[in-house]
Subunit: 318 residues, 2 copies
Amino acid sequence: MRTKVSLGIDIGGTNIAYGVIDKEGKCVMTDSKPIKLFDTPQEFIVSLHQEIEERLATLDADLIGVGVGAPDGNYFTGTIEHAANLNWKGRIPFTELLRETFALPAFLTNDAKAAALGEMIYGGAKGMKDFAVITLGTGLGSGIVVNGQLLYGHDGLAGEVGHTIVVPGGRACGCGRRGCLETYASATGIKRTACELLAKENAPSRLRDIPYNEISSKMICEAAHEGDAVALETFRYTGEILGTALANLVAILRPEAIFLQGGAANAGDLLFAPTQEYMEQNMLFLFKEKVRVLPSSLPSNAAIYGAAALVWNELKQS
Amino acid sequence: MRTKVSLGIDIGGTNIAYGVIDKEGKCVMTDSKPIKLFDTPQEFIVSLHQEIEERLATLDADLIGVGVGAPDGNYFTGTIEHAANLNWKGRIPFTELLRETFALPAFLTNDAKAAALGEMIYGGAKGMKDFAVITLGTGLGSGIVVNGQLLYGHDGLAGEVGHTIVVPGGRACGCGRRGCLETYASATGIKRTACELLAKENAPSRLRDIPYNEISSKMICEAAHEGDAVALETFRYTGEILGTALANLVAILRPEAIFLQGGAANAGDLLFAPTQEYMEQNMLFLFKEKVRVLPSSLPSNAAIYGAAALVWNELKQS
């Protein structure tokens, strides 16, 4: 019997990654291209179609659909709308273009929602009906699953947990307001916290020799592993803010588990331990010690799995 | 053709109210009894069954099911569990008792979730698939509807918006923590705010002559209507806390509208105006001026409508 496979596309600011994955999570091909190679989305789609056709001809597999995860991707309309960090501008009818070229069902959602589906179909959330995935990258994205379905809200844009205000009057956020969760809990937030602590504390730190623009959350993670006091306190504080926010999220949603994905989640216990600790400390008694904060169990190219999972999820439901 | 009707029961700390309501919201009978008349839930149910049988015999109506809204009611188990303010103690298998006596489908949920269904089936949320109902009584309850379904979470206890912490280290809450939304935004919260302002400000106020235990949110409302500065500032502050919290709730859920029900919502514009104002002021740009804060359009015995609506909602889905 020929295997059924799904094509998952992850559109990032720099690269477009894609992969062909079967229902069990076996990735039969994967690749990545710089987005700047393509002046228009049409150019990319035509080139991708040709590549996939050629590759599938050598495989015993039938492509059943195309799924896309994209920043500012709107599930309801299938469009990518004015994504701040893409060089394709305006309102792009992405699923329409895919359907025309591939003659297959095509679906699109934002990257954090795709991440949640990836976790549900292929990862640690298999069998869960209520959970949340928090992606800690440049910002904080979230994909929330309620009763087995993604939470889209009235216009497809629900799940902006990163833009809940957790410190009134706090750090300036890209959204124009102050104190949003993502200004504290994200790769950028971790860097901002480290910088704040360099100013506030007198402890020696290797971070004092690196310009702000060059500090990364990965460097802070390495410094913490070497015992750097500023770096260690940075992760404790990040966990305090994130854990406290997650306790409030649990009071509203009562998920079975919360998964942390994305670059900053690679800090592992440095981040997970204080996050779980402050979440429990601030948790309503009803939910104490009932909600796990878990790492993703997906491969490092999780976003492709999420995009491919969108197809399985949609075709299951129809 | 005989009319189909549903029996809705609202179990409160003092009274049990019930009513027989058709799908269009016509209430064909309603009554209320002090809960202390019944030593056990069985006694109440047998007495209610007899009364309803007699009343329905005179009406051209078929009862299709029984719905119950109760504090600490658990939808998944159909039980009322250790409700702090009921004189029936322990774990009460309420829907089981109802099914045995009425020989009809019976459903139970907590009072705020029933309120949301009442708004969806009979009230202003007709046709909406994503909305929230906030009940402002002694505490703050919430019923959240996502994609046309009540948000129950992993164990049926989701929707504890009243227990999200909005002022870290703030007012002591009945849940054992500090700064929960319901310690500010509820009838009790309004009274606490007034008391705090009596201490903080020097403005004359008629509230200064009333002991704390006798002040009610209704009195504060009346004082505000007479221009009492402390009472007016009480409602502004309540709206600031509630509106800011609702902006965060919108970022997560993106509802079409938020309904405020319950005693404290009777303050009308005194509460609605600052709530909407501070919600907009703190709203993520994506959702600005898109989410309405609305009063309930249900009759004053809204809780009975909510309980009756549970039956229509369940039988529709099965």
